[in-house]
Structures are given as structure tokens and as C-alpha cells.
Amino acid sequence: MSVPGEKTNGSVLATQDLSVWAGDKQILKSVTLEAPDRTLLAVIGPSGCGKTTFLRSLNRMVELSHGLRVDGTVRYLGQDIYDARVDPVLVRRRIGMVFQRPTVFPMSIYENVAFGLRLDRKPEDEVEKSVVGALQRAGLWDEVKDDLDRPALSLSGGQQQRLCIARALAVSPRVLLLDEPTSSLDPAATQKIEGTLQELREEMTIVLVTHNVAQAGRVSDRTAYFYQGRLVEVGPTADLFENPKDPLTEEYLTGRFG
């Protein structure tokens, strides 16, 4: 999967001195962080520390919020995604996103997953293959294979969220960003999604924002801890959890666990 001529250093997505400003308030403070290939990077930190803003600046969604300004670089396979020649539409094609709450479109299950593919006018057999594949990878196929034409809104919350993951996977992105995808779900549904993520992390790059530290422990390879817009510490999840280097991280983790 390596791309000839690209200096990726093994990382698919890398930020360099990434800052985000709202007016003269700095929401994100010079974050330098890498997301290596085929790993799941968890981003944790207290509410309001800039997790969502960080995630949204990785696929230029941040530009949709009026009044936010981005500084620094984000490289996708070596290309600066904020380069003037880069089209945000293509950035989002390669770097998919799943939101805090399920956001199924008012159409059938099948059409939801096919949404991105239809934009390219892919032939129907190809669309169908991708839809089935995406549903399988998202762990939803067995539950919906008999009623793909049902309105997506008739699914349960957990199923809807997995449908959103399938929808994002269908356009075969290289990176998947998830913003607290289980925060509105019950434990059983959460468990299913975590299972899905554990399989997906073998094949792609995932950045998972979560307020649930235990979840980060369960599913991630690496964890980054944010506090007040700064990246405090990042490292292999086990290391970070067992011996946090920064007292702030330790305080947060112990506050959470004990």
C-alpha cells in the first residue's frame, strides 16, 4: 500500500504545528501528531479540550464552521491538505468521518451506503459489490441483508451508527475519523462497534475521539491526550496508560479510573 515517491515515514496522516483560532481565542495549540498506517489512534481528554476541533481539521470539515482559522499543516501521504490546489471534496473522499450521533439520510439502507458511490456514477454491479462489502466490514450485513430497501431510519441507534460507518467505508477511504461514535449508544451497541473498529484497524488508519478512557484502552494502538487545546502526550496505549510521562495525563487517567 506504500506510494512510490511519497515521504510518508509510515504515517498516513501527520499534523505539524496545527493551530486553530476562533477570533483571537486559540482552540488548538500547535499540535504535532502522526497517525501511522493500519493503526487506531485514540484521542482522549476532558470535554472542551479541542478533540472535535482537532478531528475536524484533519479532513477540512473545520472550514464549515464560520469564523475558525487553521494554521500549520496536515499532511495526507505527504500532501498538505490545506494546499491551495487541494480540493476539500477529495480530501473528505480519502478521509472519511463518522459523527457523534448517527446521521443516516432519509432513504433506504442500501441507498445510504451507496450514497458516495453514486456521486461517481459507478456502474450498478460495482455499487452493489461495494455496498455489500462495506456492510460486511461494518459488521451490519447479517442484520440487514434481507431488508436493504427498508428506510434506514427504521434501524436501531446502534445499527444506524454502524450504517454510518459502512457508508463511510463504501467509498474506500484511507483514513476514518470517528468523533465519540458510541456516546449515544447503550453498552451492547457500543461493544459491537468496538468489535468493528478492532477489525478495521488492521486494514486502515483510524482516529477515534472518545471521552471514554476505557474504550481507548480496549481498542486503540496509540493514544493521544489533549488538554486545553494542547497535545500533552502521545504514545502506545499500554505505555501511556501504565506510565504516563506527564503529570497532567496521570491526573486525568487516575481521576477517571479511581
Binding site: 506510494v3 512510490p4 495526507y76 500532501q79 491538505i81 487541494v86 480540493d87 471534496v89 477529495l90 480530501v91
Partner: protein, 296 residues
């Protein structure tokens, strides 16, 4: 996976086409505002051009006399009709709005809102027919200031009503609970807590109703009838600006005195309506800021 698929610069023909459609729509759609703004400017320009050359102090201070004269009578008449009908509509609308938002059961509130919206959809001339048959004929009020004003008040009632209802329904729930929790009665809560919060939006509805009432013609033609002079009593026929335009606009001489008077009346109406609209905007802004403060 290959280099072109990972490239973030769109090059395929299909992609460029998708992008082009989007970009051109983004550029062109806003120009549709010209289709709104140009007619408005044309209207303001031409009505001013036809009204202003002969506009003088006397226009505002003398009564119409058959085919010439000023607009004093209709101006006073419009003001009196507006004052009476707004008072009636505001009294009913605010009381009804408060009841709907604060006291009514959910089902009743839904029904009241629905019927209020239906009343707002009744054509103005149908309300005028009601005024003519019911008030002028059957009640025997005759075509008069009071018959016209009451008819108009029915027509503008929904606008006050909806605003008052919305205003009180939008007062944050915790304010109400805090207030009632501290032992104040419902009425005290409405007077001391809810009313100050809701007031701008209530006023907004009143101004909106005034702007609409001032511009209406059909409810008045057969209920207020016409008078060159300011009315001397509630039971007297009354002239008003929209009626003057209605009566004079199609006189044969395009630049004759009657048509000019009609343009002058149109000019006055336009100016007042624009000022009222500005007031509504400003008050609306205050209200939005105030509510936003309360919700934060």
C-alpha cells in the same frame, strides 16, 4: 491503491464536472437576489418620482376635495383606523397568546394555533365581506370608522396572536420553574418574569400587524367606505390612504391630479411601511440577543 487515486488534486473529467456545477451554482444563485431588489428599487424610484415633484406641506395638511387637494383626511383616517384596530387586535392577541402559551393544555394550544393560522389564511376581501354583511348591514353600524376598524382588527389579529404566543412559549423553562418554585403565582410569574423577556417579540407582532393593517384595502372598502374629511365620530365613514389609491389610481389622465394624489399616498405608505419594517428588524435583533443570553 495508486498515486492518482491518492492525489488530492481532482483531475478526472467526471470530478471536474461535479465541481464545476457546484461552483457555478454557488456563484449564480445569489444573483437571484437581484430579482427581488431590482423591482423594489424600481418601485421606490418611480413612486417617488411621481409623488415628490408636487409634494408640499399642503399635501399633508389639506383635505382632498373631489379631484385634487391634499391627503390630510385620509392620513388622519388611516391613523385612527390603525389605532383602533391595533388596540383591539393587541388586546385579544396578547391575552390569547398568553393563555395559549401559559395556561392551555397541549391539545388546546395546538388547536388554537391551528385555527389562528387558518384565520391568517382567509383572503382579505372575504374578511371585508364579513365586515360588510355582519357589521355594516346586520348590526346596523353602517359604513363607519368603527365597522372598518373592527373588520381590520380581525384581519390583523393572527399576527399579534402568533407573536405573543411564540414570545411567551419561548421563555426558558428553567426561568419559569425557578420563579414558580420560589412560590410566586402564575400571574406574578407572567407579570414579573415572563413579560419583560417576551415584550420585544410581542411588540414585534404589534408592529407587524400595524404594517399589514396600514397597507390593507379590501377589508375597509365596504366597511369604512370613504370620507374626504377626518371622521367626526365612530359612526362616521372614514377615508384612508389605501382607499384613496383605490379610488384614484385609474383616472384617465396619467399625470392628472387624482393619479398624482394616489402616487403621493403610495409614497407615504411605502415610507411608513419601510420604517415599521426597520423597527421590526431592530426589535427582533434585541429579542434574539436577549433570549440567547438567557439560554447560555
Amino acid at each position: 491503491m495508486n498515486a492518482t487515486e491518492d492525489s488530492l488534486v481532482g483531475t478526472s473529467a467526471r470530478f471536474r464536472r461535479r465541481r464545476r456545477v457546484d461552483r457555478w451554482l454557488g456563484r449564480l444563485l445569489p444573483f437571484t437576489f437581484l430579482l427581488v431588489i431590482l423591482p423594489l428599487l424600481d418601485m421606490v424610484y418611480w413612486i417617488a418620482t411621481r409623488a415628490l415633484p408636487t409634494f408640499s406641506w399642503a399635501t399633508l395638511t389639506t383635505n382632498p376635495s373631489g379631484t385634487s387637494g391634499g391627503l390630510y383626511g385620509p392620513i388622519v383616517g388611516s391613523a385612527e383606523i390603525l389605532a383602533i384596530s391595533t388596540t383591539i387586535a393587541a388586546a385579544i392577541g396578547i391575552a390569547g397568546g398568553i393563555y395559549t402559551a401559559e395556561f392551555a393544555s397541549e391539545r388546546m394550544a395546538a388547536t388554537v394555533r391551528f385555527t389562528t393560522n387558518l384565520l391568517a389564511g382567509v383572503p382579505s376581501i372575504v374578511v371585508g365581506y364579513f365586515g360588510y354583511f355582519a357589521l355594516v348591514l346586520y348590526f346596523g353600524w353602517g359604513a363607519s370608522l368603527i365597522a372598518g376598524s373592527v373588520t381590520l382588527s380581525i384581519f390583523i389579529l393572527p399576527y399579534v396572536f402568533r407573536s405573543a404566543d411564540l414570545a411567551f412559549a419561548s421563555v426558558p423553562k428553567d426561568l419559569r420553574e425557578a420563579s414558580l418554585g420560589m412560590g410566586s403565582t402564575r400571574v406574578q410569574y407572567i407579570r414579573r418574569v415572563a413579560f419583560p423577556v417576551a415584550l420585544p417579540q410581542v411588540l414585534n407582532g404589534v408592529f407587524l400587524a400595524m404594517a399589514i393593517g396600514l397597507g390593507e384595502t379590501a377589508p375597509l372598502l365596504y366597511t369604512a367606505f370613504w370620507n374626504n374629511f377626518p371622521p367626526t365620530g365612530l359612526n362616521q365613514p372614514v377615508g384612508y390612504l389605501t382607499g384613496l389609491i383605490w379610488n384614484y389610481y385609474d383616472e384617465p389622465l396619467s399625470f392628472g391630479t387624482e393619479v398624482t394624489m394616489a402616487f403621493q399616498a403610495a409614497f407615504i405608505l411605502m415610507v411608513v411601511v419601510i420604517v415599521l419594517n426597520l423597527a421590526i428588524r431592530i426589535i427582533g435583533g434585541i429579542y434574539a440577543r436577549r433570549l440567547r443570553g438567557l439560554y447560555h
